[in-house]
Point group: C2
């Protein structure tokens, strides 16, 4: 199906996420870009991005139009798809991806593949959260500088124990699916939102821990010899990465503090 045809049959999706950073919104963006389906990146396309998120996560809201309140961004708004023709509002990255995956052709060929795709995505998002915690191990609301000592310990554990565990796991998944996926796909014989999610987390780890990743990459021939570049060259993703729509990593979830990397 061509991107244009898909675009015509899809509702006008709206992504609501903090402007200016990839963050957790990026997993949703990658799904749209790979599927060639148009979407509105509301807060990056508006002057009032921060204000829109403020309203979305208003601590006194009990929801609207039959939707529950949103705990935290990202949220997906789909006009016309909610109760009685109102907008549907979803929150939590894996829930949004699960909903969109079915509609964008990124959730596998059957029920089993659909479940594995969600599972692998959740595992990759766990790594994402752990990467965040390397610079905020004590409190999300304190600055990194105020928890630097704990960060050094947390990052060491993350680099030495957790990163290899996750890399090895996804290498094994690719190996187990090699007959169908040829090292390019984690599940079945086509691209899924799990591939996109794992890929983005790997690229974030390379940004945050370049020395650590450089030293480890060679141990995972499918993950870094085949999978990583294959996703990067996917139609839709390649164009997106070359565009201004792709925000650079900076001070979001993945941060490069040289002192937290391998010395």
């Amino acid at each position: 199906m061509s991107a244009n045809k898909k675009a015509r049959t899809q509702p006008p999706y709206e992504l609501l996420y903090w402007p200016g950073i990839p963050g957790r919104g990026e997993f949703i963006r990658l799904a749209f870009e790979a599927a060639g389906v148009s979407y509105k990146d509301v807060c990056n396309e508006s002057e009032d991005g921060m204000k829109i998120i403020g309203t979305l996560t208003d601590q006194s809201s009990t929801g609207s139009d039959g939707n529950p309140p949103v705990f935290a961004p990202p949220a997906l708004r789909v006009p016309g798809e909610g109760k009685n023709g109102a907008a549907l509002v979803l929150y939590q990255t894996p829930s949004i991806l699960s909903y969109l995956g079915d509609r964008l052709g990124l959730s596998g060929a059957d029920e089993a593949e659909k479940s594995w795709i969600l599972s692998h995505t959740l595992t990759a998002l766990d790594v994402n959260n752990e990467a965040h915690d390397t610079h905020h191990p004590v409190s999300m609301s304190l600055y990194y500088e105020d928890q630097k000592e704990e960060s050094l310990k947390k990052a060491t554990d993350f680099r030495e124990k957790r990163i290899p565990k996750f890399l090895k796991y996804f290498e094994r998944v690719l190996k187990g699916n090699e007959a169908q996926g040829q090292g390019k796909f984690l599940v079945g014989d086509g691209l899924s939102y799990a591939d996109l999610t794992v890929w983005h987390v790997l690229s974030g780890l390379e940004f945050a821990f370049p020395k650590e990743m450089e030293a480890r990459k060679k141990d995972y021939p499918l993950l870094f010899g085949t999978f990583y570049d294959s996703v990067k060259e996917t139609k839709g993703i390649k164009e997106y990465l070359a565009s201004e729509r792709r925000k650079e990593f900076s001070m979001g979830i993945f941060r490069h503090y040289p002192e937290l990397d391998r010395q």
Copy 2:
């Protein structure tokens, strides 16, 4: 539908999780118990529970019978439901709950409710993970005693900032759904796996931080005045909680260290 009738039309579900503790396996158990659907709690019903988990998470496995390897327990095994009549093996709690929710009648009345139920579950499981991190803020593989200083800081932040944020959020969800859910259900007018998950996390918080929770409960009249007891009295759940199948909290995710509670 009676429990017996459901049991006859369901495949022979097998839960694979560390024996002896509630842990993340508990969210799956609660779904089966509330639905009145039989399941085999494999590692609690065998002498070799620890060994079974060791085999399940073997670090050299690339999967079996067309299933990917399992990153970590819990896993769900469903004989006959996988590729070519083999067993289907799923991992990651939210993915298992999403799969089971559809089959056990615990995932809402339509697609929107299904997505919200998954979203709220993910939020509750985030709290679950953060509660774990209060006693393991630096490393999962070190003892609590070796990261006690950091734990004191992390637990203070969790109690003062995160617990009230989550409690307030779920109070708002119940409020927004009060017309349908009467304070008893987070989504729609029936029990879902989100209700069970939020309930178990609340009971874990009460075990781990009894003083903190006692001081805060009164601020959330729907959550603690209606919802909490309603779930506890649900048919299936009430009997389960009174049974020996319900393992007590001890040294798993939710732990009671008096020094980490409100002083």
